[in-house]
């Protein structure tokens, strides 16, 4: 187990190097010049050339890459061209929002998605199944920006229960109470994802329910609830575990629309804004960290398989 883990972690290195080269190359291939964006509409070509030189962007691309990657190895992702602060601190700031938002969203997904999925599977073919499946399809289909804006209108503008937007850090005034800023966004993000989990739990459980060991359990006279949880759901979890892992990664990297609607300072919005500003070091840093996140989650999911199903060999 330990040697498997170490081998997998070592395998990260070539993947990360290849990813870093691709990221660097693609970002520098997009037309657009950070110096021109920084200086604005009235800048002359001489101004732009001078700033490009000052920012070190006039060097050959391979030299810029070596310079950047040399820093990355030492844990230095460089300086944001736009904010003039270390990329790591810019990302750390966004990561706080994104991680808390993803955790809160995952909580809703587990609280709503899993029980409703089980209910739907155990009442397969009845009105309960049709009702829950109908709701799941409805929530999977509505666009998040629409749901988000309606939640804001209803709960923030209409009832005034929650703040409409923004997210002060939990280290600012308010502490953990600031999490209330994330309640509406996390519900918005959870809706389509919980709906998918409901569908997945339902279909995996129905698959497992057809297997021999379930028939044996029924023949032994076990209670339906015990069969559903211990014999069906436990086995169905394998497929669901992978979905949880990748949903979590996607929640961190792809929550751009929700972050925009609720004006949250998260990683998704940071990367989109940085692309528009051509803030190369930030884009490179964020994407590299997201690659690392996906690799790690992939590993965790694989390890979880072994735990959930001892028949899966990790060697």
């Amino acid at each position: 187990m330990l040697s498997y883990f170490i081998k997998r972690v070592l395998a990260f290195i070539p993947t990360l190097i290849a990813a870093s080269m691709l990221i660097f190359l693609f970002i520098h291939l997009i037309p657009g010049d950070p110096a021109a964006v920084l200086l604005g509409d009235t800048a002359t070509p001489e101004d732009i050339a001078a700033l490009t030189r000052e920012l070190g962007l006039d060097e050959p691309i391979w030299r810029q890459y070596i310079h950047w990657f040399g820093g990355v190895i030492q844990g230095d992702l460089g300086q944001s061209l736009f904010f003039k602060t270390p990329v790591l601190s810019v990302i750390a700031d966004g990561a706080e929002t994104s991680l808390l938002l993803a955790l809160m969203t995952m909580t809703w997904i587990v609280i709503f998605g899993v029980p409703i999925g089980i209910l739907s599977a155990t009442h397969h073919g009845t009105w309960i199944d049709q009702l829950t499946s109908g709701f799941a399809i409805f929530f999977a289909s509505i666009p998040t920006f629409w749901l988000g804006l309606y939640l804001i209108l209803f709960f923030a503008v209409g009832l005034g229960w929650f703040p409409s937007s923004g997210f002060p850090s939990i280290s600012d005034d308010g502490g953990w109470r600031n999490l209330r800023y994330l309640l509406l966004p996390s519900l918005t993000l959870a809706a389509p994802n919980a709906a998918l989990i409901i569908r997945l739990v339902r279909s995996s459980m129905l698959d497992v329910a057809k297997e021999d060991h379930v028939r044996t359990a029924k023949a032994k006279g076990l209670s339906p609830a015990k069969i559903a949880i211990k014999h069906v759901f436990r086995n169905a979890l394998i497929a669901v575990a992978a979905a949880f892992g990748f949903t979590f990664a996607a929640l961190i990297s792809e929550a751009v629309v929700t972050e925009t609607v609720f004006s949250l300072p998260g990683v998704g919005r940071l990367v989109v804004q940085s692309i528009l500003r051509r803030d190369y070091p930030v884009i490179q840093g964020v994407i590299l960290i997201i690659v690392l996140l996906y690799l790690s989650i992939n590993l965790i999911v694989d390890l979880a398989y072994g735990w959930l199903d001892p028949r899966v060999s990790l060697q």
Binding site: P31, G32, D33, A36, V37, L38, L39, G40, D41, T42, T44, E46, D47, I48, A50, L51, E54, L55, S80, F82, F83, K84, T85, V90, D93, G94, I111, F112, P115, I116, L119, L149, I152, F155, A156, V157, G160, W161, P163, S164, S165, G166, F167, P168, S169, G174, R177, L179, L183, T260, V261, F262, S263, P265, G266, R269, L270, Q273, L276, R277
Partner: protein, 513 residues
């Protein structure tokens, strides 16, 4: 299990939501911006958003009153020699920087020198400056090679203008914007923090020495009533509006025309027009391509376009736009209708004849536009249809803004491109007057009129020359003005001291809640 989970939801909702104290005290003004500026350094940047924030911290020697005339701010008085070549400016002696140092002529000279060499608009003035030196602790003297009429307007315009920083900050400062630790000014608010993606915060500067006189535009006495101002990026307009209605923001900028009627009708929202209109410009390539020096063909393009339907489509309510051919708006000293009868003909037949006479044979004309600014794109679509109706073969190329500004610097990449221009107090600051601005309009007729325009210090004479320049723009068509757009912001009705319109950028000294 379901019941238990529902119970947890209710507990969480109660914990986070109900009874939550108001997030911010009344001493803070919360301003929802469309995004974040690249920096707040006024010398090198012309971003309006940067100025909206920065002019609370940084001040120049002069500023503008409500009539857009320059008035003293850090300056106490000035005199110009009879030959117009020597300008002596005396400075106020009661001004301190946010770091506690007193402001002296050394700071002013250092700031002016950096702005003159590296600033966005500085080289325009410093092209004529022979020397600038401290002629006393609180006096500077500028020697010019030739009289330069717009000097005071240039010094008063803080956007891309000569904000006064401490000499220590100016040491070694170049084209690269200064960093937030160096944001030391003399204004009523001082820099507190910039949390990327969250906010820029300014706090009241308690030792602020205000200029004297009744508040008038940006001139006169300034008093910081708020403890702090937070500028928060809220890129989604729906969120800016909902946030203001919910009381999470006190002020939100750049609200689209479609919502104007609704906002006007809402008692919980005050609408504030931006007094200085912005105007779209379609530049033509004077360096390469089919439009290079074919003024007749350019006039044919100009004749094909009717600006009004594009303004209706792109902006909406009539109160927010004006199909005005004068480069500066009605009521402004620079308003003139000279040449403006060519502004919006919309005559496809006449255009076809003119194009044929100009030798146009249906070659593609590359028209670049960006979707970052929806009104650029909407207008470009209308123009493309109108030009097609007049027989032009328009190749519309849609890019993001960063790509467009790179491509427009390459003369072989385009024939027309769409941009817009902020309000400026002197026509010399309009981009088409700059020979290096993409489009590169450098005809002998322009050079001749521009030289006369800058050499004159007589306001009436300068206005007359500007009329001739505007007529020349409609004749040689280096750019096409697309009409005035009055953007608007919304504010909480609880704010006191806001007018119905801003002068150029909103300001929050003399404003309270």
């Amino acid at each position: 299990m379901k019941v238990r989970s529902m119970f947890r939801v209710a507990v969480l909702a109660a914990a986070f939501g109900f009874g939550a104290a108001p997030a911010m005290a009344d001493g803070m003004l919360r301003y929802a911006t469309v995004g974040e500026p690249p920096s707040l350094d006024q010398h090198v940047l012309t971003s309006d958003l940067a100025t909206t924030i920065a002019h609370h911290m940084f001040e120049g020697l002069y500023t503008f009153n409500a009539a857009n005339a320059p008035v003293n701010l850090l300056a106490k008085g000035d005199s110009v020699s009879d030959d117009g070549k020597t300008i002596t400016i005396s400075l106020r002696d009661d001004v301190t920087f946010h770091d506690g140092q007193a402001m002296t002529s050394a700071d002013v000279v250092a700031s002016m020198q950096r702005w003159g060499e590296h600033g966005s608009r500085g080289p325009l003035l410093f092209g004529n400056v022979e020397s600038i030196e401290a002629s006393g602790d609180h006096e500077i003297t500028i020697k010019m090679s030739a009289p330069f009429g717009p000097w005071k307007n240039l010094l008063a315009f803080i956007n891309g203008g000569p904000a006064i920083y401490p000499a220590s900050v100016m040491e070694g400062a170049t084209k690269e914007p200064i960093t937030p630790e160096q944001y030391i000014g003399t204004g009523p608010f001082k820099f507190s923090e910039w949390e990327p993606n969250r906010h820029v915060e300014l706090v009241r500067f308690d030792e602020y020495a205000s200029p004297e006189g009744e508040p008038d535009g940006y001139g006169g006495a300034r008093k910081a009533e708020f403890d702090s101002i937070r500028f928060m990026p809220v890129p989604d307009v729906g969120t800016r509006v909902a946030g203001l209605q919910a009381g999470d923001y006190d002020y939100a900028e750049s609200i689209p025309g479609d919502l104007y009627a609704e906002m006007e009708a809402d008692a919980n929202v005050k609408t504030i027009l931006n007094g200085g209109p912005i105007f779209g410009l379609v530049f033509m390539n004077s360096k390469e391509g089919p439009l290079k020096d074919n003024f007749a063909l350019r006039r044919a393009i100009q004749t094909a376009i009717d600006k009004t339907p594009a303004l209706q489509v792109a902006i909406g309510p009539e109160g927010l736009w004006r199909a005005n051919g004068s480069f500066l708006p009605e009521g402004n000293v620079w308003y003139t209708d000279s040449g403006a009868d060519h502004f919006s003909k919309g005559d496809a037949e006449a255009s076809k004849t003119m194009a044929a006479e100009a030798g146009y044979e249906g070659d593609p004309i590359k028209f670049m536009v960006s979707t970052n600014y929806p009104f650029h794109y909407d207008k470009a679509i209308v123009y493309t249809k109108q030009l097609a109706a007049a027989g032009f073969n328009i190749d519309l190329q849609v890019y993001d803004w960063a790509t467009l500004i790179e491509k427009r610097a390459q003369p072989d990449q385009w024939d027309l491109f769409f941009t817009h221009h902020g309000f400026v107090p002197d026509p010399i600051l309009i981009s088409v007057m700059n020979d290096d601005y993409p489009g590169w309009w450098t005809t002998a007729e322009k050079a001749d009129l521009k030289a006369k325009f800058t050499a004159s210090s007589d306001p009436a004479e300068r206005q007359a020359i500007w009329g001739e320049i505007q007529a020349l723009i409609y004749d040689q068509v280096p750019t096409m003005k697309t009409g005035d757009v009055y953007t608007y912001n919304i504010a909480s009705p609880k704010l006191n001291g806001l007018g119905d319109a801003t002068l150029i950028w909103p300001h929050f000294w003399n404003v309270s809640k």
